[in-house]
Amino acid sequence: MMEYSNEYLRGLVRDDRVNRAIYTDPLIFELEMQRIFSRVWIYVGHESQIPKPGDFHCTTIARQPVVMSRDADAVVHVLFNRCGHRGARVLNHECGNAKLFTCMYHGWTFKPNGELAGVPMRRDFPDAALGKPRAAMASLPRVESYRGFVFASLNPEVQPLLEYLDEARRGIDELADRSPEGEIELWAGCHRYHYNGNWKLQFENMADMYHPAATHASTVGADGRQFSRRTGERGGSAPFFAPNGEAIVAQTGVRGLRNGHSSEASLFREEQAGGVWDEYRALMVKRYGEQRAAEILRNRRHSMTIFPSVDVLIAQTSVRVIRPVAVDRTEVLVYPVRLKGAPEQISTDVVRFVNLTHAAAALIQSDDLEAFERSQQGLAAGGSKWILVARGFGQEVDEGNGVLFGDRSSEVGQRAQHYAWRDLISAA
């Protein structure tokens, strides 16, 4: 296999531009799996997806099949989804419940904590061959969670999760704090979509407030308002264009954070109100007090994008997971969130609106998918090695704690992603 020098890899990302090879080169994709997805914290799932002992939820990290499970003592594990005998994938459904995880090939069974439970015709194996932990479903080297968000890492030396999340934990806090109990649940399944394009195209899009005027023009009605993205007699639909003709969303600010995370300011300046929202507000005030409740309900952040695997959608009250499949293929899953303790209708309305915003058939997402595929096609073209991430470059405001703020749909969030990518990919 051809190898790239770390110097070459580092040079693929400049201050205000990136080399198109980072989207199109299959060798770079393989390096990303080794040096990024196998090295940092990757989101696995939310604890609410496995509430009972024996519950499991399968996903991948760096394309490797893994399973998040809850053992008899209610402890959450993340295991390689692989039989300790001949290596077959053990759990073949995305989620479910089982006292023992049974391999279909030779019938070996494992406890939900990964320990070997049973081996048919066991006495024909030498004892040493079945010794722990060799024959178990192995645990991932590191597993930690924050407010129910479970992350795992293939890297035993990875820094503590909270240190990695750094300022991005505030995005998780903002979403979870919107529950009158301070807890969220993933409860309504997920949307799944894929596109023929590199994973970074979706990732950058989540920090891109510049694109909606062009990409999503078809979602704006004759009255100049976008269709309602969320409920509420007030604070639901929003005008799309400012008096000067610019898209309002493109006038909002973006933050680039340490470790490649990013966040966009909220599109909504009004609290949702009316009907069930008034009942919800009263519950929030009861729990947090008027001042803190008003602060939470103001909705500061549209979303918090946690490099390189998950997007916490605060305004749309959902969680989006990005799974790289190949250099030009990406799968995305979007889970609507239930705010525990909030009136049921708040959560059922979220389900309804996520259908319209972040699904394969969504009025918004379908045009983003078109943009990702056309980007992948266009990036195959020569002419220049570089594409620009220059918007707002040099005008960022340092807010401290590694936070750079860029007004007017600055590409500061995408730059934060690329700089983190550069530091990881070029470190041997």
Binding site: W187, A188, G189, C190, H191, R192, Y193, H194, Y195, N196, A214, T215, A217, S218, T219, G221, F227, E331, V334, P336, T348, V351, R352, V354, N355, L356, A359, A360, A361, L363, Q365, S366, D367, L369, E370, A371, R374
Partner: protein, 176 residues
């Protein structure tokens, strides 16, 4: 079309000649032909004011409220969807898709609780072709809950159960 069927606008007001399965079948065939021919506004007009277009994302899904759906549109939402399909800047339809639907294996059930409703079950296959894209093939079950009107039917609920409803999709722009 079932235009020859003479039924009262609302149940219980008059003796209703019972529409035949053929009348209902023709209505469904007309409905999907409007989609094939991209006559979206006429298609929308077939829906009752309280009509629903639903494509579940889970086999046997019982409710659109506690689980995501591929589509769950009331009539005002369907109208927005169709306006967008006509919008010159709908990039995911530039160029446009062409579709054809084959619908077959019709069966009629009469929901006991409401005599003005007819439940028409059928199976379908839909091809979607878009320049520079691989041909897409969808298949599944249609369940049309139809309400008799003075001269035809209106759609109270069109439910589409795709055989691959719980799988991953590239962008979906065409109603099934």
């Amino acid at each position: 079309m079932a235009s020859s069927v003479k039924v009262a606008a609302k149940a219980g007001r008059a003796v209703q000649p019972k529409p035949s399965l053929t009348d209902l079948q023709r209505f469904v065939e007309h409905e999907v032909r409007l989609l094939d021919e991209q006559r979206f506004e006429e298609w929308l007009d077939l829906f009752a004011d309280d009509g629903i277009y639903w494509v579940p994302a889970k086999a046997g899904q019982e409710s659109p409220r506690n689980h995501v759906s591929l589509f769950y549109d009331d009539k005002p939402t369907l109208k927005i969807r169709i306006q967008r399909l006509r919008h010159p800047a709908i990039h995911s339809q530039n160029p446009r898709s062409q579709t054809v639907r084959l619908v077959s294996n019709f069966r009629l059930e009469r929901p006991a609780q409401d005599p003005s409703l007819y439940l028409v079950l059928s199976k379908f296959i839909m091809f979607e072709d878009r320049p520079d894209h691989e041909r897409r093939l969808f298949a599944g079950h249609y369940s049309h809950t139809l309400r008799a009107t003075s001269d035809s039917f209106e759609i109270a609920l069109k439910r589409v159960d795709l055989t691959n409803c719980d799988q991953t999709f590239s962008a979906l722009t065409q109603p099934f």
